[in-house]
């Protein structure tokens, strides 16, 4: 909320620098986003009075002016403007002055005539025309009022002010008003609040004879106050009001509209002014919209209403969207002479729903959503009427209509002093607590070991002891809370099994040269297309957000692979020659669509590689090593058949019969879809399954006492023969004696025939009971030679 410092000072005396003031506000609980000095770019600009205007001898559009700038003798300034006359007061940028945008004005000569500065337009000073109506697009800003030549321009144009941007907490809608903030400022500054005037004179008559108000849906309208003003003179509001509104970010319109906005900013109560002559039947009916009802709002848009929406209707139909926007029909115009002011309290959630449904977002709506104080409706209306009176904008008809069925007493909060002390962690004496609470307007007395507090009319958030503790503490000072280490039962801290496992995975994968990535959990559905997943593929079964930031972030991912491919692509396109990555994250697997219960959130591991040094066997090795380090053995591999991987270079990995995941080279079409060139490799493993399979702590055996023997074989076989199967068979033949089977070479070329390969495999045998005998060894090697030759149609190379 933007608040001019000067406006705040209208209600409370603050003798503090802006730095000190904002610091105190922050430390007592009113956050400040920042503040801006309105006149920080303007210097050495004064009020000047035109004494003489003559045409420039060497120009057909320049004028030479003698200007009284309070310097004793007149100053000569040349200008190109011609909207001024002798006697006018204008802003004068003197020699060596600064204007907004860093413009530096110095004396000089214009076509041979000395000019000791510049007379300014409103635009040059950053003064908008809706604040200063005499400010025209081209020409000097002609100043109004009783001003002295030579006086600083800043106070004249309201530039001697600071606009503070307060960040208002959700529980303090009262601070969405200058007066609400004044109550906080009063504690920060140590001075009392002076309330504005709620007094006005009336012209007699009776409001009830001019209009009738009926609230049909009390659940959505807790209070409705209305008053009527006649003989309205529509004109611009006074300069001070326009300046306040402008600095608070509201565009001045005319006196009536400005009063409603001024009161909204001052007291936090959104108000609406109806042209009562346009209210058909002179009836106001607060009700839910009818099915199919339509209306045109102030922004000239036709709105289709639903029966969930609250409207302000007249005898014939809706004429305003309650709490959101008025209707075009009853808008205040230059011809309006009879006005109905509305000051009501509508239901926030309902307004929020209607606003969202219609795609509308107005200042009033935001305030109702955050909570308007039902107790202040009437007072705000009286304030508006007082301003009508003060501005001579019309005559107030006697009487205020006030429909307020659920009026409640201000709540009294009883809080146990010990409890308040416990929450605060500091034993502030009871008298001090009362003093602090009183300064906030919370009348408090001590009864036994209790504080009895009554919240002021403007506060709606004081309901229980914890609230009292916070009020005391924030004024007493959070800085005074001591810092203690917890007492109580000693507890053993423990990391989660999932975190411990993730740490191990990170260690293993980093050790193999991969860098960890973190990507968003929601993805674009286009990535499923890019993976070439067919309709109905299980991976397409994604939870979909109703209100995503955009399609790119709309589906909860069921696989980490597309995010990884995107990361590979980003890196490749930024010129990183090679990269190895992994990500540990959750995938979201709905049990059904649309989702009716929480989905499975399954942890997954994804690996991605590209670059010269990587190939299929590299990623396979990473998968094998990762699983080994997790204590998962008995791995088998089957050819994978997924559309996003190369059909001949991809595999599924199992432990026994349990599927763990897949890996392989990215299908070239998919690589194209993700805009990367060359080959890429990915793996995705199901960590939940890995958790179930993991062996846990390593099982260590004594060192073998007896030597091992190694026997090497070279078999010639067809290209199609899976080497892994040959090795598996050898391992099996060795049985208990097998310590390791290793592939050490695959040779193609002369003298091996085309379509064949020579595969060199060694087996290491050991008997843990005794030194291997020749018979034991040859029993194994003979079987290897015969069985491999037979089963795989292979030949032992001699």
């Amino acid at each position: 909320m933007l608040v001019p410092y000067s406006w705040l000072k209208n209600y409370v005396k603050i003798d503090l620098s802006i730095e000190e003031f904002t610091k105190r506000m922050v430390m007592s609980g009113t956050a400040v986003e920042g503040y801006e000095d309105c006149g920080k770019e303007v210097s050495n600009v004064v009020v000047g009075k035109l004494l003489e205007i003559v045409d420039h001898p060497n120009s057909d559009h320049l004028h030479i002016c003698q200007v009284d700038v309070g310097a004793g003798s007149p100053t000569q300034i040349v200008t190109g403007a011609d909207n001024m006359k002798v006697g006018d007061l204008v802003p004068v940028a003197l020699h060596n002055s600064y204007l907004p945008g860093g413009v530096h004005i110095e004396k000089g000569k214009l076509r041979g005539e000395v000019s000791n500065g510049m007379m300014c337009s409103g635009e040059e000073l950053g003064v908008p025309s809706d604040v200063y109506p005499s400010n025209t697009d081209h020409g000097l800003l002609i100043l109004q009022g009783d001003l002295t030549p030579g006086q600083d321009i800043k106070p004249v144009l309201g530039l001697d002010d600071v606009i503070i941007d307060f960040d208002i907490l959700a529980n303090r809608p009262d601070c969405l008003s200058v007066l609400g903030l004044a109550h906080e400022a009063s504690v920060a500054a140590g001075n009392p609040v002076t309330e504005p005037s709620y007094e006005y004179k009336t012209c007699g008559g009776d409001v009830n004879e001019l209009v009738s108000v009926r609230v049909e849906d009390n659940d959505l309208c807790k209070r409705y106050c209305a008053a009527v003003v006649k003989n309205i003179k529509i004109e611009p509001s006074p300069l001070w009001m326009r300046q306040f509104l402008h600095k608070a970010g509201v565009r001045p319109i005319n006196n009536i509209v400005d009063i409603t906005n001024f009161v909204m900013l001052e007291m936090g109560q959104p108000m609406h002014a109806f042209d009562l002559n346009s209210v058909r039947g002179r009836q106001i009916i607060v009700r839910r919209a009818h099915e199919g009802e339509e209306m045109q709002t102030l922004d000239s848009k036709d709105r289709k209403l639903t029966p969930n929406m609250l409207v302000i209707a007249d005898a014939e139909g809706a004429t305003g969207l309650a709490g959101i926007m008025g209707g075009e029909d009853s808008e205040i115009t230059d011809n309006t002479d009879l006005v109905l002011f509305e000051s009501a309290c509508f239901d926030g959630p309902n307004i929020r729903q209607s606003g969202r449904y219609l795609g509308m977002r107005t200042e009033a709506q935001g305030r109702f959503e955050r909570g308007v104080n039902v107790r202040l409706c009437k007072q705000a209306l009286q304030r508006a009427l007082a301003l009508i009176d003060e501005l001579h904008a019309g005559e107030v008809v006697d009487g205020i209509i006030d429909i307020y069925p659920g009026e409640e007493e201000l709540p009294v909060v009883e809080s146990d002093i010990d409890y308040v002390h416990t929450l605060m962690g500091i034993d502030v004496p009871a008298e001090k607590m009362c003093e602090i609470l009183d300064s906030l307007g919370i009348e408090t007395k001590v009864e036994g070991n209790k504080l009895i507090s009554k919240a002021p009319i403007w506060r709606q958030d004081i309901r229980m002891g914890a609230d009292i503790a916070e009020e005391v503490l924030r004024i007493y000072g959070y800085d005074y809370i001591p810092s203690k280490l917890m007492q109580g039962e000693t507890m053993t801290g423990r990391d989660s099994a999932a975190n411990i496992r993730d740490k191990l995975l990170r260690k293993v994968l980093c050790g193999m040269g991969a860098y960890e990535t973190v990507t968003y959990s929601f993805i674009t559905p286009k990535w499923y297309d890019a993976l070439l997943l067919p309709e109905g593929d299980p991976l397409r079964k994604s939870a979909k957000l109703l209100n995503p930031l955009g399609e790119d972030y709309s589906y909860m991912r069921t696989t980490l692979i597309p995010s990884m491919l995107n990361t590979l692509s980003t890196n490749m396109n930024r010129g990183n020659a090679a990269a190895a990555f992994y990500e540990i994250s959750k995938v979201f697997l709905p049990k059904e669509l649309p989702m009716t219960e929480l989905p499975e959130e399954r942890p997954a591991l994804c690996i991605g590689l590209y670059g010269e040094e990587y190939d299929f066997y590299f990623i396979k090795g990473m998968v094998e090593e990762t699983l080994k380090k997790m204590g998962i053995s008995d791995l088998t591999f089957k050819r994978a058949a997924v559309p996003y991987l190369h059909p001949g270079r991809s595999a599924e990995v199992y432990a026994g019969d349990t599927y763990i995941g897949l890996f392989g080279e990215v299908h070239p079409d998919v690589a194209d879809n993700f805009r990367f060139r060359g080959r890429g490799y990915v793996a995705e493993l199901n960590i939940k399954v890995m958790d179930e399979l993991t062996a846990g702590v390593c099982d260590v055996q004594d060192m073998p006492k007896y030597p091992s023997v190694q026997r090497d074989f070279a078999f010639v076989m067809t290209e199609e023969t899976p080497v892994g199967d040959v090795m598996k068979l050898m391992e099996k033949i060795g049985g208990k004696l097998t310590e390791e089977v290793k592939l050490f070479d695959i040779y193609r070329g002369v003298p091996i025939l085309p379509g064949q390969k020579s595969v060199a495999i060694s087996i290491i045998l050991r008997n843990r009971e005794h030194t291997l005998t020749e018979e034991e060894i040859s029993a194994v090697t003979d079987r290897i030679i015969s069985e491999v030759s037979e089963k795989f149609d292979a030949k032992l190379r001699s």
């Binding site: 956050a31 959630p349 914890a466 930031l549």
Partner: protein, 344 residues
């Protein structure tokens, strides 16, 4: 005989002088002491000597043999040393050539920070629990004192799947799950991802990470909260760091605070990063709202509690001086590799 022995001695000496390789020594050994060597041959003629001369010459020749063997051994050692020195000299490498490139990756700064943070709190007796990222309205809002229509729901700009299911807006959703399933004393943290409909910029991301903390016990106070968070800040950033508690509001805590730590970039002097304040906000905290305790089946008259939610991205950015939060999610290798150059 004696003269012959002397001749052999002199000739061996002369030859040894000239020997430059250990193989020459072996040659000499064979030529002189070998079966057909000069000395051996000479001794074969001993039979011709008189009985008086024989023991004398025998002794002399044995002495000579021992003497020669000594020389040979010594010369061998000398030559071997020389040869070794020469070999070592020849093997001298250019130590300025870079070492073999080791391929080690490193973990992401966010997970590194998370692990560090977990370590700190586990050390203070906290247990780590996990919670779902897709939550229901009940746990994410209702039980946290944010009823339907509450303005705080809007402020958080929640991502919804339907009326009931949503992406959790804060790890506090785990609080209610823990309180409903455990009895006090409770001391847990829960790190994880959270989601808010914030547009992406240098300090915002729709996906980010928090670490929730919750302590419920008898007599827990705001001073305990301060003690825990001071300890956390010191361990995360070092001894010189200070914390600052500012009053704030969260529906699930009362009183509530936002907590700043000394800006690491300027050490509290005030700079562009901290907008001149010297402080950087890293977390929200407070005393668990008694309504939340009641709703979760814990008697607020018997127990009080404290809770905090630490923004991991902020903590990470501050710890490593990361200038833009977007870098954390872009995963550019050149960014990630920087976290392999020191402790993380």
């Amino acid at each position: 005989m004696q003269q012959k022995l002397n001749e052999i001695r002199e000739s061996v000496r002369a030859r040894l002088e000239k020997a430059v390789e250990s193989s020459h020594i072996e040659e000499i050994r064979v030529n002189v002491l070998g079966r057909k060597g000069e000395l051996t041959q000479l001794l074969k003629g001993m039979g011709k000597l008189s009985a008086e001369e024989r023991p004398v010459i025998g002794q002399m020749s044995n002495q000579l043999r021992a003497e020669i063997e000594g020389w040979l051994d010594q010369k061998t050692r000398e030559l071997q040393d020389k040869e070794k020195a020469a070999r070592l000299a020849k093997e001298t490498l250019d130590i300025s050539i870079p070492g073999k490139e080791m391929q080690q990756g490193n973990q992401h700064p966010l997970t590194a920070t998370m692990e560090h943070l977990v370590e700190i709190f586990v050390g203070m007796g906290f247990t780590v629990v996990d919670g779902p990222e897709i939550e229901d309205d009940h746990h994410n809002f209702e039980l946290l004192n944010v009823p339907k229509g509450h303005p705080a729901r809007d402020a958080q700009d929640t991502f919804y799947f339907n009326d009931n299911l949503l992406l959790r807006t804060q790890t506090s959703a785990v609080q209610s799950r823990v309180m409903l399933s455990q009895k006090p004393p409770i001391r847990i943290i829960s790190p994880g991802r959270v989601y808010r409909a914030d547009e992406v910029d240098a300090t915002h991301s729709p996906v980010f990470s928090q670490c929730e903390g919750l302590v419920i016990d008898k007599g827990i106070t705001m001073a305990d909260l301060k003690g825990i968070l001071d300890q956390f800040a010191r361990e995360m950033y070092g001894e010189g760091i200070k914390t600052r508690f500012r009053p704030s509001f969260f529906p699930f805590t009362e009183p509530s605070a936002e907590v700043d730590v000394t800006c690491a970039a300027c050490h509290g002097e005030g700079c562009r990063i901290c907008k001149g304040t010297g402080w950087i906000e890293i977390l929200g905290a407070g005393m668990v709202n008694p309504n939340v305790l009641s709703m979760c089946g814990i008697d607020p008259n018997e127990y009080t509690g404290l809770a905090f939610g630490i923004g991991l991205e902020r903590v990470t950015d501050l710890k490593f001086n990361v200038p833009d939060m977007r870098l954390l999610f872009e995963n550019d290798l050149r960014f990630l590799m920087q976290f392999g150059k020191g402790r993380i």
